[in-house]
Symmetry: C2
Amino acid sequence: MLRIKIICVGKLKEREYMALCEEYRKRLSRFCRAEVVQLEEQRLPDRPSKAQIADALRRESELIRAVIPRGAYTVALCVEGKGMTSEAFAGVMENAGLTADTVCFLVGGSHGLDETLKREVSLRLSFSAMTFPHHLFRVMLLEQIYRAFAINSGSHYHK
Amino acid sequence: MLRIKIICVGKLKEREYMALCEEYRKRLSRFCRAEVVQLEEQRLPDRPSKAQIADALRRESELIRAVIPRGAYTVALCVEGKGMTSEAFAGVMENAGLTADTVCFLVGGSHGLDETLKREVSLRLSFSAMTFPHHLFRVMLLEQIYRAFAINSGSHYHK
């Protein structure tokens, strides 16, 4: 069974969003072993300099790398990534599952992901040109992973 | 004060999604008079023909037109619409507010919106190439409208 590891910088606090994520995680258990790992966001002053942000992202990237299993297919979520339909994303997931036993999704904190880390991943993926809040985006990601499995299994969820 | 009217085909039933939409609607009250209108989705058989779908969409489009205020700026949400950043969307909202006193967002049901209706609107807008469920999309739309007002008011919500 494919393992899905969603590595997020920042902790979800809002009860409703936690409930929605948990619901999709439960539904995913039909298709895969899904796990959400939340890493501590590095603290920054109120008006951080570019160098302070870059340094925080670099430290976060080290925490992220430490929890990526060896040989995993890695997907970085970032606004400059490739946009695709749910069907195309389902195809990516299916292909990834042929060569890797884990697919890792990397979701940055409020300042995104480290540039070096983004160059190391298997795929840079963008859901939208628009910016969404962290908690809402996490639901969107879990739903889309669930939809991908539903598409690949021929279920009626996606029509 | 600008009026925002979100016209949706289909009713939201899920408690968590209703709570999230209501939260954004409340937050929007700082910036505008926001209203969500839910229209009945036309019933279709289990495996509808193309003609049956087109007919249902046409009937839904009549219900939608009936609740669009005269002179409103109209935005149809559809996958083939224009993608844009949150900042660009904020610009659209600001410009719309200069010429119209209402901005209407049209959100179709499970089969989308009628083709003729889509040709009549001021803007066709796409949030993503991906397909999202109706209830989740409604939260995404409300959040993005809230973000647009926050951007236009120079608030710290969007950075």
